[in-house]
């Protein structure tokens, strides 16, 4: 069970691991963080010129953090564009993933949000700082081991 892109990458000797297909039949690949930047450039040159979405999630309590990229190849006269989903996993302690901002500019705000919510450091991101939470916030709210501070909220007012 190997997709087109996976076999293309194998042909060019690029290390990756196939994670199968998602429910829409879109190929999913896992790529190591240290190779992600060069493979991102190769994918851009290959034709994936559109980063449709970038998101991140916490895989398991105490486990890895994942950064997910959905890439699309936009061309004229095509109604079924080629798509691929890339997952990059990073260790929970000091998670570092190269930023793809310099490849796809639309990665700017999604990567900042992933940094804000999960604390993944995107190397070479131009302005990696919190985007949703206040800048002085402590902790990464979407990690599974996050404990929310006991802030006072009005709960009983009616």
């Amino acid at each position: 069970m190997q997709g087109n892109l996976s076999s293309w990458l194998v042909k060019h000797g690029l290390v990756h691991r196939s994670l199968g297909f998602d429910y829409q039949g879109i190929e999913t690949l896992q790529i190591k963080p240290e190779e992600w930047h060069s493979i991102a450039v190769i994918l851009y040159v290959y034709g994936y010129n559109y980063l449709r979405s970038q998101c991140a999630y916490d895989v398991a309590p105490g486990g890895l953090l994942a950064s997910v990229y959905h890439l699309t190849r936009i061309e004229y006269g095509i109604d079924q564009p080629e798509e691929v989903c890339i997952k990059v996993f990073a260790a929970r302690i000091n998670p570092r993933i190269p930023s793809v901002f310099w490849v796809w500019k639309s990665a700017d705000f999604p990567e900042r949000e992933s940094y804000d919510m999960l604390g993944i450091y995107y190397d070479n991101h131009p302005r990696l700082k919190r985007i949703l939470m206040p800048e002085s916030w402590v902790g990464w709210p979407l990690r599974k081991d996050y404990i929310a501070p006991n802030f006072y909220e009005i709960q009983d007012a009616h």
Binding site: P134, S136, P149, N150, F151, Y152, I154, D156, A157, H158
Partner: protein
Amino acid sequence: MAAAAAASSYIMFSMVGWKNGIQNTKHTLRFPISAQINEAAEQLKAGDQEEDQEQAKPKPSPLRPVEVQQNVKSKNMGREYGGQWLSSVTRHVRIYAAYIDPITCEFDQTQMDKLTLLLDPSNEFLWNPETCNKVYAYFQELVDHYEGAPLTEYTLRLIGSDIEHYIRKMLYDGEIKYNMNARVLNFSMGKPRIMFNANDLPQDDLQSK
């Protein structure tokens, strides 16, 4: 942040407590609703328990005197600090990293080595000097506890939230009461409760229904 950098040289917090609600109550009728039991017998019991508790628990630390400043002028934060003061604002607790004159209300934001607590500006509770001082003492304890922490909004909000929880506890213990002449009467810390027990109802009523 520049403000966080400034906090490292920051050892002594001083504290200015200011309460504006007390003067207003002269004009208003006092009609308190207790969050606790209203029956006289129950109150007697509760009073006994409170005395026991007071003997057992350690006394709050005495309030440090606050140096009263003369001729305070409203000053904005310098541009090197981003032009913004640090604050934690919730309904009953407003903490500013600034000096606020209690009489003239001049707001000196350049004095970042001070924290000012405005207690219940919307006047939702009925305060007396004793309960006010308890909150101030608790504030002082918290400030001592957070000594050395960076001076950020997050830290101030932790302190402010703890004070809010403390006020809520005071309300539940019946030490403070809702001010029924407050401008907004939405009982933001829970509806006033009268101890109601269905077992005390006459049994005939229950059976007939």
